[in-house]
C-alpha cells in the first residue's frame, strides 16, 4: 500500500511537471524542482522534531490514557481536547499528520482525530499573525467566527457516519508495514503508569 501511494504521488508530480512544461518550458519545471529542494531544506529540522515528538507521544502515553481521554469513553471531552490540541500545535502537515497517526495507533476514536485535523486547518493560532497582517482584522475575525463550530461538527459527523472508522483507518495506516510494528509494541509493553 505504501509503495503504491508513493508511486501514485510520484506520477502526480510528473503529471504536474508536464503541465508546468507546457505552460513555461524547462525553466518552469526547473523552478518547480528547485522549489521542492528549498522546501525540503527548509523543513528538514521541523520534520525530524515532529517525528521524534510523535514517537515520544506513542511510547509515553499508554493506550489506556488515550482511550480514556480521546477514545470511545471520552465523549465531548475528546472533541474539546482534539480541537484545542489542533489549534495549538505548530507546523505543517508533516507535523500534525504523524501526531494524528500516533493518537490513532494508541486508540483515539475517529471523531477526535477528525476534530484535531480540521481544528489544525481552521483554528491554528500560529497562522493568526499573517492572516491579520495580510487580510486585515475584519476578514480574519469573520473567518474565525464562521468556522468556529466546524472542527467539532466535522468530528461529530465522522463519529456518527463512521462509527468504527478508527479501527478501519488504523488497519489501513501506510506505515504499519514498516516502522509501525516496533512503535506499536512499545505502549503495550509499558502498561499503565
Amino acid at each position: 500500500m505504501q509503495r503504491t501511494m508513493t508511486l501514485v504521488l510520484f506520477i502526480a508530480g510528473l503529471g504536474l511537471g508536464v503541465v508546468a512544461y507546457v505552460e513555461g518550458g524547462w525553466s518552469r519545471v526547473l523552478s518547480g524542482l528547485s522549489g521542492t529542494g528549498h522546501l525540503l531544506v527548509g523543513v528538514t529540522l521541523l520534520i525530524v522534531a515532529a517525528f521524534v515528538l510523535a514517537g515520544l507521544i506513542q511510547v509515553m502515553i499508554s493506550k489506556e490514557t488515550v482511550t480514556r481521554w480521546l477514545g470511545e469513553e471520552s465523549g465531548w471531552r475528546g472533541f474539546l481536547i482534539g480541537g484545542v490540541a489542533g489549534a495549538l500545535i505548530p507546523g505543517g502537515p508533516y507535523v500534525y499528520y504523524p501526531i494524528a497517526v500516533a493518537f490513532l495507533r494508541s486508540g483515539a476514536n475517529i471523531g477526535t482525530i477528525v476534530t484535531f485535523v480540521v481544528a489544525k486547518n481552521l483554528w491554528t493560532l500560529s497562522r493568526l499573525p499573517i492572516e491579520v497582517a495580510l487580510l486585515g482584522v475584519h476578514v480574519t475575525w469573520v473567518r474565525y467566527v464562521v468556522t468556529l463550530v466546524f472542527p467539532p461538527l466535522a468530528g461529530l459527523l465522522a463519529q456518527l457516519l463512521f462509527r468504527h472508522g478508527g479501527r478501519w483507518v488504523r488497519e489501513g495506516l501506510p506505515a504499519t508495514e514498516k516502522g509501525g510494528r516496533n512503535a506499536r509494541q512499545a505502549p503495550d509493553g509499558s502498561g499503565p503508569p
Binding site: 505504501q2 501511494m5 508513493t6 501514485v8 504521488l9 510520484f10 502526480a12 508530480g13 504536474l16 511537471g17 503541465v19 513555461g24 518547480g32 525540503l40 521541523l46 520534520i47 522534531a49 517525528f51 521524534v52 515528538l53 514517537g55 515520544l56 507521544i57 506513542q58 511510547v59 509515553m60 505548530p90 505543517g92 508533516y94 507535523v95 504523524p98 497517526v101 490513532l104 475517529i110 477528525v114 480540521v118 486547518n121 500560529s126 497562522r127 492572516e131 476578514v139 469573520v142 473567518r143 467566527v145 464562521v146 468556522t147 466546524f150 466535522a154 463512521f162 483507518v169 489501513g172 501506510p174 508495514e177 514498516k178 516502522g179 509501525g180 516496533n182 512503535a183 509499558s190 503508569p193
Partner: protein, 161 residues
C-alpha cells in the same frame, strides 16, 4: 530555525523529560520509534514534497486570480472554495495571493470561502495526508468537511455581509 521548530523541539524535550521520569530508557525508545517512522515514510514524504513543488509551478497564481476576481453573485462562494483548494503552498505563499484577490475586488463571502477552501480542501495537503495517514482517513475527512468552505462563505454573507 523557525519558531515552529523551536516550539516542537521544546515539546519533544518536555515529553522526553516526562518519559525519563516514568522510565529512564523511554526517551530513547520514543526517539527511535519516531525516527523509524520517519525512515519508513521517507520515500512517501519525498514524493509529497515533489508534488507540492510541482503544484506551485503548474498552477500559476495569476490564473486563479483571474477566475475569482471576475466572478460575482452566489457562484462566488463555490468558485472561492475551489480556487482556495487549488492554491498551493503554506500560509506564507498563499496569504499574499488571498490578499491580492481580496484587494482586486473579491467580496467578504468569496474571501472567507477562499481561505476556508484552502484550509480544509487543500490539494497540496492531500498528498501528505494520503502518504502519512492513508486513503481511508482521507476519505472520512473529505466526506465530513465537504460542505464546510461554501457554507463558511454563506454564513459570512448572512451574518456580516
Amino acid at each position: 530555525m523557525s519558531i515552529a521548530t523551536i516550539i516542537l523541539a521544546v515539546l519533544a524535550l518536555l515529553m522526553a523529560g516526562l518519559a525519563y521520569r516514568q522510565d529512564p530508557a523511554r526517551p530513547l525508545a520514543g526517539t527511535v520509534a519516531g525516527l523509524k517512522m520517519l525512515w519508513g515514510m521517507l520515500p512517501l514524504l519525498l514524493a509529497a514534497f515533489f508534488v507540492a513543488g510541482m503544484l506551485a509551478v503548474a498552477l500559476p497564481p495569476a490564473l486563479v486570480h483571474r477566475w475569482l476576481a471576475s466572478s460575482s453573485g452566489l457562484l462566488d462562494v463555490v468558485i472561492g472554495s475551489v480556487a482556495g483548494a487549488l492554491i498551493p503552498g503554506g500560509p506564507y505563499v498563499s496569504f499574499p495571493i488571498f490578499a491580492a484577490i481580496h484587494d482586486a475586488g473579491a467580496g467578504l463571502a468569496a474571501t472567507v470561502s477562499l481561505v476556508t477552501g484552502w484550509a480544509v480542501w487543500n490539494v497540496g495537503l492531500l498528498s501528505f495526508e494520503l502518504a502519512i495517514v492513508g486513503p481511508r482517513f482521507t476519505l472520512i475527512r473529505m466526506v465530513t468537511t465537504l460542505l464546510l468552505p461554501p457554507v463558511a462563505g454563506l454564513l459570512a454573507h448572512a451574518l456580516f455581509g
